[in-house]
Symmetry: C2
Subunit: 351 residues, 2 copies
């Protein structure tokens, strides 16, 4: 495989914006989605950035996403709100939800904003990080957009990899940003392994007999394994109830597989919590405490075979620095898909 082309994030962002405008998104909305998708790429979330653009465009052209949405609050308490996303791009729904959460948390202390009628919004970390600039901790949970996980002991795929992200600011160090699926491997990693002709390690998937499944081209004969067995199943279930059922959004059998169906509205559910540090602590004292925790983790004696100890988000910070300097790697397959998309929509290709 030849080395991927490096494309500056700004060019990916401009291409994304122009494509989204070409299929009907308003200028501001297209710009906001494009900026978040480029941010996902710069942070190393390769399965959640421009990689998704052809799929988003297809869904928009099929009428599966509303390009002129009326995103609004339909329930509002001092610290709890429910957003109806009106089937908009998820990036728009959850940017709005995050801004409401931050506003509410400024006076209430903590605010929890759920969303229904949303859509895939890219990596969870994008939204968990939004409160950071306001000296707040951010927490985001989503119902994933395709079910790849059965209940523990079962084989019916009733659950998604329902992810959680939490972002916690530090003083000297970059923020800690945890962004994780409740399965051992996200489904995107299975797809990547298949593309690259790699074998999966045992523990990622099992087949319908409960045997390890390590050939990623046979992925549809099995399912993902949750972290910690029944515990990860429990987390995926609870996250689905909180981000889906509580918000009147899809969960369980009602989840639309957005990879297989690009028409039916997904009624995706997500939630974000903003936690104002000042409601609990002196902000600088807290951030220094986070620095101290990071230093303690870094300073731990190591197991054989480990060169360093990281905190969540640290790898992503390093990727970000590298990609801001050198550009985002775009593999040949993705590049041709983007070129085809550009010529279909009359938009100049990104590279």
């Amino acid at each position: 495989m030849s080395a991927p082309l490096r494309v500056p994030a700004e060019r990916l962002e401009r291409f994304t914006r122009e494509c989204l405008e070409a299929v009907g998104l308003q200028g501001d909305d297209a710009a906001r989605v494009a900026a978040l998708m480029a941010d996902a790429d710069v942070n190393g979330s390769d399965g959640h950035g421009i990689f998704r653009l052809p799929q988003y465009v297809e869904r928009i052209l099929n009428g599966g996403i509303n390009v002129t949405p009326d995103i609004k609050l339909i329930r509002e308490s001092p610290s709890a709100c429910l957003v109806d996303g009106d089937n908009a791009m998820g990036h728009l729904v959850m940017s709005y939800a995050a801004s409401v959460a931050v506003d509410k948390a400024r006076t209430a202390g903590v605010a929890w904003v759920g969303a229904r009628n949303s859509n895939h919004a890219g990596p969870a970390a994008l939204y968990a990080k939004m409160p950071l600039a306001h000296d707040m901790i951010g927490l985001y949970i989503a119902v994933g957009n395709a079910n790849h996980l059965p209940p523990w002991g079962g084989i019916d795929m009733l659950l998604s990899t329902n992810p959680i992200a939490v972002a916690v600011p530090a003083q000297e160090h970059p923020p800690i940003v945890l962004d994780m699926a409740t399965t051992v491997a996200a489904y995107g990693k299975v797809k990547t392994a298949a593309q690259r002709g790699q074998t999966m390690p045992e523990g990622w998937m099992i087949d319908r007999q409960g045997q390890p499944l390590t050939d990623p081209t046979r992925a549809d004969e099995g399912f993902l394994l949750p972290i910690g067995g029944a515990k990860g199943y429990g987390l995926a279930l609870i996250f689905g109830l909180l981000a889906g059922t509580l918000n009147g959004a899809a969960f369980g059998k009602d989840v639309i597989d957005f990879n297989a169906d690009s028409v039916t509205p997904t009624n995706t559910g997500q939630l974000i919590v903003a936690i104002s540090i000042a409601a609990f602590a002196d902000v600088a004292t807290f951030k220094r405490g986070v620095d101290a925790a990071i230093d303690q983790m870094h300073g731990s004696e190591r197991l054989p075979g480990f060169d360093s100890i990281l905190v969540p988000g640290e790898r992503s910070h390093a990727v970000r620095a590298e990609r801001e300097a050198l550009g985002v790697p775009v593999h040949a397959g993705l590049l041709s898909a983007l070129q085809r998309l550009g010529s279909q929509l009359g938009v100049a290709p990104p590279g």
Copy 2:
């Protein structure tokens, strides 16, 4: 090993209350702690009920717990509060925190109450369940009281098994109650395996070379493994920052091993979140949605070797029914410890 004696929960509760009064707790406080500890036993949390009484009494007699505490709010916003536990029994601190969270959530929608200067409070589920009676979802996170987990790739035990519990009410079914450590096995399970002369499965612990450790009598030569590898480490770290650092409570190197040290105040940190369902949804509609989710999980086709599919908390509900009918099993070793404690304090033994 002979079959354990069955003791009615009421007798365990009375014994606990009388012992706690004998070492100086006020009547109401002793009654509240005893009721919660008995509830832990009835629910099957064998490592968190009366099993802990001798240790609690020892700590109280050593001055390590304040028996005449002034538990109070030291920060208060519409949806965020910080409780100073004044080094009280953790059960008292977190019962109070839960009642504040429920009160606040009634008007605010969601309320988050953190605690510092608390102590071990028994099983996380006890507190997560408190909001249920008010048609609220409860979420509880704690910094554990002994560090058995290193950062991922490290060998310094800087983290505890920092647990999370979430309780979600249903209509026809009992509530879903997830209560889990962020490690594959809780440390109590290791101790139980050692007591019973059993071998641990691979995956619970590794030694300082990174090799599987399966002999529980060698537990102090190794450490617990987090669920999902780096993911469980990330959760334990984040939970510690939220329940510990944010509240001005101990975290990382500052955590006191309360098994080894029964004198030094632990400054334990915990948090509880109460989420009013009515702030997001029609309560009955939501509960029926939870029922539907439970029915979907139960109805899944099963893997070979599984007789049934459970939702979190279901095993505990079954244990509860059995123990309410037949009494709580008290093994011979624990029974003699309780008898010694009773004669030390002048309290009639429970069995």
